[in-house]
Structure formats: structure tokens, C-alpha cells
């Protein structure tokens, strides 16, 4: 079976028309670093493919501390255009140099587990994504977007066009733990955004990669920490709750059992690191 058509629309209107016409018989490729290996390997045989690289969606806009990243912004683009350390950390740990030159922010949202090393940071920041189809435009939270294993809350005729991040308050930490030297698949990636008031945790968002079918928030662990000081006992209970609540993928790099152990260990480390950091007002 061969690919019948490869479309390269230059305007969003054209792209959304194609999506509306062909719906699920049209595959989308952004940077291609997930889609192309599958095609090369013969794992997928799309009839029609639409490449969205020419849509001018590789922008970064900032206003009042809020940032909007276009869906086709590459990870290298993030490093070139954004100076925020947490986002840079996440981009830096997503693939090697050539992959970062190709792979995009939008594509990372769709990566199968344990990939999603940029998306996990977006989740910790409570990002929203812009979804468009021919007759409608909407924003949904990234948590809503992750509807379940192998499914997202967008329809076949919809495109993700941007990711919006609220101003970053409080402290952040990002850790990607791999078995060998990077670039390598994550065993677990931990992304935390935490706000304190006089040492007491007011809000915390813990997002983990390698702990479920997509990057996931660890609400139980968050609940344990909120209202508490970041002390040994609370940290250990939160890390334990995250390990128990996780449903880690299993692959050649790590078993689910090992990932669970590492979730506990690395989340605990990340929280200790935040405890030792001066609280940012």
C-alpha cells in the first residue's frame, strides 16, 4: 500500500478544509519524528497525509507574562525564542539535537508513552491548548485533552494550533531520569510547579511522564502536600501516593515495577530540591 496524497497546505483555512473533507482518513504530520518512523517501519499505512509545517504556526507570543506557543514551533525553536528555565529544561531533554530541530511542541502532545517530555512540563504549568476546526475554535485545558489511553479530546477534523501558558508563579523543577546517556526514552520525567506562602504549600501541580498512558497529574500527591510544609514526612507520603497511583508503561528500558520505584524516588528528590530552594514570592 502506498500513500496516495501528501498535502502541504499554506494557510490554516486550506488545512481545516482538508481536515473537514477527509477527517480520519487524513493523517497529520508536524515535525514527523513520531509519524515518519511508524510509516518507515510499516506500522502505519496512511492513505493521505497533511503536513502542517507551512502554516506559520511556529511562533511564540508573550503578553503580561502569558505565553502562547504555536503548534509547529520546534523544540529548537523553544530554545531559541524562550528564556524561561523550566521550559528550556524540558525542551533540552526532548530528543537529541537533530530531533529537536524537527520535533514540535504540538507533536509532543501526541507522543506515545513514555515520550512527552515537553508536554509533561506544559501539564505542570496548567497549559491550555487551542483546537480549531473549519467552523469552530476552542481552548481546552491540557488535562482535558488527555482523555485516556491512546485517545485525546479532539475530533478527527480538528487541529491543535497553539498552546497557552499562564504566567509562571512560584517554583518549578524538572527532572528526566533515563537509563543511559541522553537522548534516551524516559524512565520517569518529573515536572513540578509549586507555590508557597511562608513555607506552607498553597498550590502544587505534579506532572509525571512514564507514569501512565500520557503525561499525568498526580492529584492525590498534590492533595497531600497542599496546606503542609515541605517536610520529610509529607514529601514521603506524597511520593508514595504518586507511585501507588501511577500506571506506568512497560518497555525494553524499564518494567512497570521499576518505573514505580523510580517515580517514588525521583518525585521525592524533586520535592526535596524545592524544599531546599528559597521560596519565590
Amino acid at each position: 500500500m502506498t500513500i496516495e496524497a501528501y498535502y502541504r497546505p499554506e494557510t490554516l483555512e486550506e488545512a481545516l478544509d482538508l481536515s473537514a473533507e477527509y477527517r480520519s482518513s487524513l493523517d497529520i504530520i508536524s515535525g514527523g519524528t513520531i509519524a515518519m518512523p511508524a510509516i518507515n517501519e510499516g506500522k502505519t499505512f496512511p492513505a493521505r497525509v497533511m503536513d502542517i509545517r507551512d502554516l506559520d504556526l511556529d511562533f511564540v507570543e508573550s503578553s503580561n507574562g502569558e505565553r502562547t506557543l504555536g503548534a509547529t514551533l520546534t523544540l529548537t525553536g523553544v530554545l531559541e525564542k524562550i528564556d524561561e528555565p523550566f521550559l528550556r529544561d524540558a525542551a533540552r531533554h526532548t530528543g537529541g539535537w537533530s530531533i529537536r530541530n524537527m520535533g514540535t511542541v504540538g507533536g509532543n502532545l501526541f507522543s506515545p508513552p513514555p515520550l512527552g517530555d515537553f508536554a509533561v512540563a506544559l501539564l505542570a504549568l496548567d497549559a491550555e491548548i487551542e483546537v480549531q476546526q473549519r467552523d469552530e475554535q476552542r481552548w481546552i485545558s491540557l488535562s482535558e485533552f488527555y482523555a485516556g489511553p491512546k485517545s485525546t479530546a479532539i475530533e478527527a477534523d480538528e487541529l491543535v494550533t497553539a498552546v497557552r501558558l499562564p504566567p509562571i508563579d512560584g517554583d518549578t523543577t524538572y527532572t528526566k531520569y533515563t537509563r543511559s546517556q541522553e537522548p534516551a526514552r524516559a524512565i520517569v520525567t518529573v515536572a513540578v510547579n509549586l507555590e508557597r506562602q511562608d513555607g506552607v504549600v498553597e498550590t502544587v501541580r505534579i506532572a509525571l511522564n512514564g507514569a501512565g498512558p500520557h503525561p499525568v497529574r498526580m492529584h492525590e500527591a498534590e492533595d497531600i502536600l497542599e496546606g503542609e510544609r515541605l517536610e520529610r514526612d509529607a514529601i514521603e507520603r506524597a511520593a508514595e501516593a504518586a507511585a501507588e497511583g501511577a500506571d506506568p508503561p512497560e518497555d525494553a528500558i524499564a518494567s512497570a515495577w521499576y518505573r514505580r520505584k523510580m517515580i517514588r524516588h525521583h518525585l521525592s528528590n524533586a520535592l526535596c530540591e524545592l524544599r531546599n530552594q528559597e521560596e519565590t514570592k
Binding site: E4, Y6, G32, M36, N40, T76, S98, N101, Q181, P183
Partner: protein, 163 residues
């Protein structure tokens, strides 16, 4: 099969070629245009042996549809090799025994070229980081890092002590 004629600029020369929908640039460069330095490797973006530069940026050409490279400047190893000898990075690879089977070498050299273009005096850690997406199963990497370090020195006019 619905092949399409596209115009590609490879090593400064514009050529026309018939490509299939989504045919990877790697396959066009190697199998159709005869740029044999662009190796056929894992086809998964994981080994780096098909690394070429697109507008100066290293990319894995197995993951880029050739059509998406229309309008860009593509550079392969052939494009950096002078007619009458070797480029400094190539010489350094030879002098430092930075290859055994040689399969990864063109991709390694293209990544090294891109690195030295951006950072003429990289540290060993920066070199290791840059080539971390290029896999070598023979050398253990040290000779490759030595070679890139030496190339940077010779290109900066500091000479190579050959050590």
C-alpha cells in the same frame, strides 16, 4: 503510485527528481541522486547515520519527506568535501582514527560541521552533547570527540598536536 517532480537544492546545485508521496529525503539523496554518504540506517531517526544539514541545521533525513525540503539548502558530506582533498573535520577524523567501519562517519561529520559553525571552540562536553544523537558502535566515541576537538583547534589556527 503518484510520483511528483520536485526541485531540490543539494550542495548548491538545483536538481529535479521524481519523488513518491512522503518519500524520505534520505532515500532520494542516496538512491536517486547518488549522494552515497547519506547512509541508510535505522529509518527511525535513532542512529543519525543519515544526518544532513537543511539550511545549516542537522536533521535526520530519514524522517523528512523530500518534498518538505523544497526551497531549502541541503548539504551532504559530498558538499563539504573539497574537490582536491578533505575538509578540516574529515582530516581530523582520519588523523585521530575516529572511525572503524565508517558507517556513522558521514552523519557524525555533518553534526560536527554544524556544531563548529555555531560554536567554533566547543568543550568536550558540548561535543559529546552535540553528537549524542549519532550512534557509533565501533570507536567508543573518544576518538571522535578528539577529532572534533582537533578540528576546532586547526580551524581556529591553533594547529593540531596530533595527540
Amino acid at each position: 503510485m503518484s510520483g511528483k517532480i520536485v526541485e531540490l537544492t543539494v550542495n548548491g546545485r538545483t536538481v529535479e527528481e521524481i519523488v513518491d508521496p512522503m518519500e524520505p529525503l534520505q532515500s532520494v539523496l542516496r538512491n536517486k541522486l547518488g549522494n552515497m554518504a547519506t547512509k541508510t540506517g535505522c529509518k527511525q531517526g535513532g542512529c543519525g547515520s543519515c544526518t544532513v544539514l537543511v539550511d545549516g541545521e542537522p536533521i535526520v533525513s530519514c524522517l523528512l519527506p523530500a518534498e518538505a525540503a523544497v526551497g531549502t539548502e541541503i548539504t551532504t558530506l559530498e558538499g563539504i568535501t573539497p574537490d582536491d582533498g578533505l575538509a578540516p573535520v574529515q582530516e581530523a577524523f582520519r588523523d585521530h582514527f575516529a572511525m572503524q567501519c565508517g558507517y556513522c562517519t558521514p552523519g557524525m561529520i555533518m553534526t560536527a560541521e554544524a556544531l563548529l559553525e555555531r560554536n567554533p571552540d566547543p568543550s568536550r562536553a558540548e561535543i559529546e552533547d552535540a553528537i549524542s544523537g549519532n550512534v557509533c558502535r565501533c570507536t567508543g566515541y573518544d576518538p571522535i570527540v578528539d577529532a572534533i576537538e582537533a578540528a576546532s583547534e586547526s580551524m581556529n589556527g591553533q594547529g593540531d598536536d596530533g595527540a
